[in-house]
């Protein structure tokens, strides 16, 4: 953190968040967070949501029956196409 980050307003700090959250920086050391309860709370909330999303929404398997439906639809399209020709 350089001196220019020492006296940021909440709006200025939050404008930097998209970049900061995507960087390897340890955000807890950011000067603004040392005195701003609002932005510290916001960051904690964003972390809670990210953590919840990671645990609550795994990549899921479609039902086994879906391929059968797709296969049937493909065959129907091919039959229709052959008939049209």
């Amino acid at each position: 953190m350089n001196e220019s980050t020492n006296n940021l307003t909440c709006a200025e700090f939050q404008a930097l968040l998209p970049e900061l959250l995507d960087s390897p920086t340890d955000m807890s050391q950011h000067p603004h967070l040392q005195y701003c309860d609002n932005c510290r709370a916001l960051l904690t909330n964003l972390e809670s949501i990210a953590e919840a999303v990671r645990h609550l929404f795994p990549v899921v398997e479609p039902p086994d029956t879906l391929w059968g439906q797709i296969e049937l639809a493909i065959k129907r399209e091919e039959t229709d196409s052959a008939t049209a020709n």
Binding site: P18, D22, N38, R40, I49, V59, P62
Partner: protein, 229 residues
Amino acid sequence: MPNSRSSMQLSDSAPKPFLVAGASSVSKPSAPHDGVMALQNEQADILAKAQAGDHQAFAQLYSLHKRRIYSLCLRMVGSVSEAEDLTQEAFLQFHRKIATFRGESALSTWLHRLAINVVLMHLRKKGLQVTSLDEAMEPASDQRPGRTFGAPDLMLAGTIDRLVLQRAIDELPAGYRLIFVLHEIEGYEHNEIATLLNCSIGNSKSQLHKARLKLCDALRKQRKLEGRI
């Protein structure tokens, strides 16, 4: 306070799509070695067979991509039956167009873009204000510059309920939801999202951040209604 990166950088743990042809497009290339080359050759072979009309090969492509396409659809629409319909439509279109795939991008990118357009078309038919991917990527008019978020008395203490979170995700504008799902759930990096959606990396980061803030607001409102904060 924990290091924010450790909890915000979710994508490392998420599975990545495999590459078939045009492997340079989305995933970061690693140093090629025999195993990777063999896998790529095998997948290129499957693709070539599917393009020639081999049903078995197409079934293999379905098996390889079904989870990510179905998950994307499910998280975008929030309904199992709609997600199944959209996955079916995406793979049907994939089958119709596969012969035209020339490998300018990774197959997974091509297929995901196709699925995203199927989802957005579906949302438009449902009456949501989305007419194209470009429109979905436009910043929403309610994002006033200078607005600040956060208040210490509105902490999201305790666990976050899955249904509440899903409802909050469902209520995000389609463009925000798409980037949130791609980054936070599907595990794409911003450069990959930029390639998928034809937007800048900065736009992807900014839209994701707005989505996070909207979710934060929605969850806090829910907690207030429940009297938990």
